[in-house]
Point group: C2
Chain length 330, copies 2
Amino acid sequence: MPEIRKDPVFGQWVIIASERGRRPNEFTLPPNTATSANCPFCPGREGQTPPTVCERLGPDGKWKIRVVSNKYPALTPDPAPRCGETGPYQSEEGLGIHEVIIETPGHGLHMDRMPEADIADVLSVYIDRVRALKSDPRIKYVMIFKNHGRNAGASLSHPHSQLVGMPMVPTRLSQEIEGAAKYMSERGSCVFCDMAAAELGSGRRLILREGPFVAIAPYASRFSFETWIMPVAHASHFEALPPGDVPALASVLKKVLSMLSGSVDDLAYNLIIHTTPVHAPSAAHYHWHIEIMPKLAHVAGFEWGTGFYINTVSPEEAAETLRSGRKYKG
Amino acid sequence: MPEIRKDPVFGQWVIIASERGRRPNEFTLPPNTATSANCPFCPGREGQTPPTVCERLGPDGKWKIRVVSNKYPALTPDPAPRCGETGPYQSEEGLGIHEVIIETPGHGLHMDRMPEADIADVLSVYIDRVRALKSDPRIKYVMIFKNHGRNAGASLSHPHSQLVGMPMVPTRLSQEIEGAAKYMSERGSCVFCDMAAAELGSGRRLILREGPFVAIAPYASRFSFETWIMPVAHASHFEALPPGDVPALASVLKKVLSMLSGSVDDLAYNLIIHTTPVHAPSAAHYHWHIEIMPKLAHVAGFEWGTGFYINTVSPEEAAETLRSGRKYKG
């Protein structure tokens, strides 16, 4: 059963989840054997995953999106009781919900090539699940993320996203929200609105604008080709996205992922939706957005030691490369 | 020329260093061609690195440790002038010193198999370089680290460490020092001293104790087999280590690295020395230590998104595995 331990110096939480160490990893097989032949997310192998939490059916009556509980959860709805505090140490129950969203029956149909309407369906499933998990008052934050490719930590290649509902706001999010509140108190505006305006104004780090959304290479990109997608107009909660805007977001997401896989060979990335905690009221200082972090290099000692990053592709060069559709030569 | 940019939300610094993207990476070659045949750190190829900053000679009059400037620096002594502030954005000069410490002439002689006396020499070179860089008042922090193995971000396999002198205290360090100061103000003791005492007391996460040093699996380990080495008695500055303690530290370091490579197949790790900023006076709340972070898995979206970690090997299991010399089966 997972246990959440607090680092006595940083106050940062670490999930100790020994069960997850037992999950299968197709990427440890020789490259050519990692096919759909034994993929637990492919149609016909539904018995290899935990039961369906919810699904969307296609016109043929078969599932086109399936949500299941994670078989190797980082957090569980019925955790072991916490051990309490001893000496300098503190722990919490590993309470939470960890789900997998199987985005398509197609083993190799990744989001950059999926029809826009299908991406829109995946996004609307994200929204539905956040709203469903929110009804549990113990869940304070719902993190939606996607690991694509081995270098980004994916253990299975079949297109899927993950969703974790957790009993506290994660450290990075609470620091981000505090940083944004500080900016608002000093300058009187939302830092994300200011960034969107600056990038639309100069165009130097603009990747694309379409309808209500903008995609940019952020000024202090930590990773080469880091890309953020955000609504141009202020909005604090992802799950409050108007249904009429979902197709435009799907279109921007598909275009951005296609541009990235066109410019970067063998693209691996982490995609994360950053949003306001589910029970917090609508906020003027924090603005939901999607962060896509390609993994071209391994994060090394300097980054772990300092907490700051070395990026060898400037965001201006990244945006220009993506806009022009050129291959990045490294 | 490197530029340091400040993230407008987190206040975190990112180094944009396009030159570093051009450094050679032997690991991108097919596995069997990455030998000493073209290694720029091997004896006889001194012309392929920048000139020697300092060296230690062996009894044969040849170098046994060489310190050179990094050919692809993250920071440089003569950076481009800063661009100043525009809109929500801020940058700084990429001022700093980035050196490589070539630990041995032996291409494959990694620290777990190096003679203890040679490791002690490497440690004393670390100390000498910190003291030398400290004389520049613009240098606020000196970070010493080592990336071993491809999964840990090493680009060359010849045993080497790196040293970066920088014009600000890195984010992670300043947060760590603040966290330790908070603990001291609440409990009246040093959190690292309390951890050492707790681990020596219970033995559950103790890896080894030898002379003035202890090696532990920290309670909230972020990474499987994460290991910290620290002096049992309080000490805030690494570079103030008494020369008489250097051989004991070398011995503990060799033993810990041998235990790790005995238990973990194909070990890759980042090693980082955490210490008090060079110009800060001796501090009661902060305690220097060495963090060794093996990289058994890729850090994935959940970790990047939340800022907290999922670890699938509990520190109790890690410590027990290392003490017993067993292989970890994953």
